[in-house]
Symmetry: C2
Subunit: 235 residues, 2 copies
């Protein structure tokens, strides 16, 4: 077939910003880059798009390679395109951010890639423009979580309300009133109370909840406004 003539073709990389939560802090899954340039430096997990796959497929493939996980919450973040962002050759990078349950990833795969979880607060220096990508992902997460129930994605199927509260408090670096928080949360009708309690994190134990999957997908677009004064968030 005829092609578009006289136009430049460029490499397209897909980079994944992978968030986790350890119960207290947000973490980021990073790898030691396996090839030159910047070999052995810390980097986001990424790869090049293949001829027959979409960006979404590439992102899922890359996440699967590193973590063994499928059906993960992922969202296209932004496409980075500074002509000099990769010193080797013109490359544009399409970024995806992912929220995963930190318990579930396959440790063996991560070892193969020399991957490690870093506290978001104590991130090492990253190659190229990857720090900028993380910063943007963080802002997007803050922005989105203020109105959409996405932070559940960072927790196991069963979770407690105090766990959720820790998630919100960590993201916005603030403290929330637990009475108001749980009332607001329960009023959404998204949570289904379970019989058992989580006895690991307290003596009394906290009831487990599960997501009402149906309502979750239906109400996903609902504006939740969990954060009292959502000022000064970035887009």
């Amino acid at each position: 077939m005829i092609k578009y003539s006289g136009q430049t073709r460029v490499l397209v990389a897909v980079d994944c910003i992978i968030f986790g939560f350890d119960g207290e802090n947000y973490k980021l899954l990073l790898i030691q880059r396996g090839f030159a340039p910047e070999k052995k430096k810390w980097s986001l997990m990424g790869g090049f798009i293949q001829p027959d796959e979409s960006l979404e497929q590439a992102a899922s493939r890359i996440l699967l390679e590193l973590t063994g996980l499928k059906n993960v919450y992922m969202e296209q973040l932004h496409t980075f395109s500074d002509p000099k962002r990769d010193p080797v050759e013109r490359t544009i990078a399409v970024t995806y951010f992912a929220l995963i349950d930190i318990q579930k990833y396959e440790k063996q795969l991560s070892k193969d890639y020399h991957a490690e979880w870093f506290l978001l607060k104590e991130m090492p220096h990253l190659i190229f423009d990857h720090e900028q990508m993380v910063e943007m992902a963080r802002n997007r997460l803050r922005y989105k979580a203020a109105m959409h129930p996405i932070l559940f994605e960072l927790l196991p199927d069963r979770f407690t309300i105090p766990q959720l509260q820790a998630l919100y408090e960590g993201l916005y670096d603030t403290t929330l009133d637990k009475r108001n928080f749980s009332r607001k949360l329960l009023s959404t009708g998204l949570l289904v109370k379970q019989q058992e309690k989580d006895k690991e994190n307290s003596k009394k134990g906290a009831f487990y909840y599960k997501l009402d999957k149906e309502k979750y997908t239906d109400d996903f677009q609902a504006f939740l406004n969990f954060i009292p004064k959502p000022d000064k968030l970035l887009s």
Copy 2:
């Protein structure tokens, strides 16, 4: 310099979704595609990224070519990547949406490109996945305008409150109470009342307002919540 070997390079297109407002309805600036395939079919204005420019620069260049406008509100929307989206050759498309004052574009340039303004409601069929792009842009605009003061970008420097109200009503396909609307709007402190009135659209005439540019850029991130029940908006 050494290149990344064994990887596919692809074409990168930039497509612009250009919104305008004629006082009553939202419009879209479309062009008749000038080359095969799908020559003469309606399409978004676009072009290929050049070796030495970023996507943002490409988008600005493309908008300038078509409208003669600089410093226009633009925002990266999404990158489309279905391997079959362009039948000629693998091409990924990075989309930007732009809000312009429909009075200001250069008609001569637009003629050269066989461009026309279409009512958003009466859009013709577009090539490739361009209709999907428009749909996504529309949703993004709804989503964003519910909380950020961006619709001003569609109006001239001077505008009236009823004009603004028409903008919001058109976007959400609803009607708003003018008393509540103007109170909420004025309470932001973003508007500066002018002496003159617009006598074109009513007998009594409506006062012109201008944006307080400084507050506008400062408060851009403020959540305005102009829409009473912003349910069922899409991300």
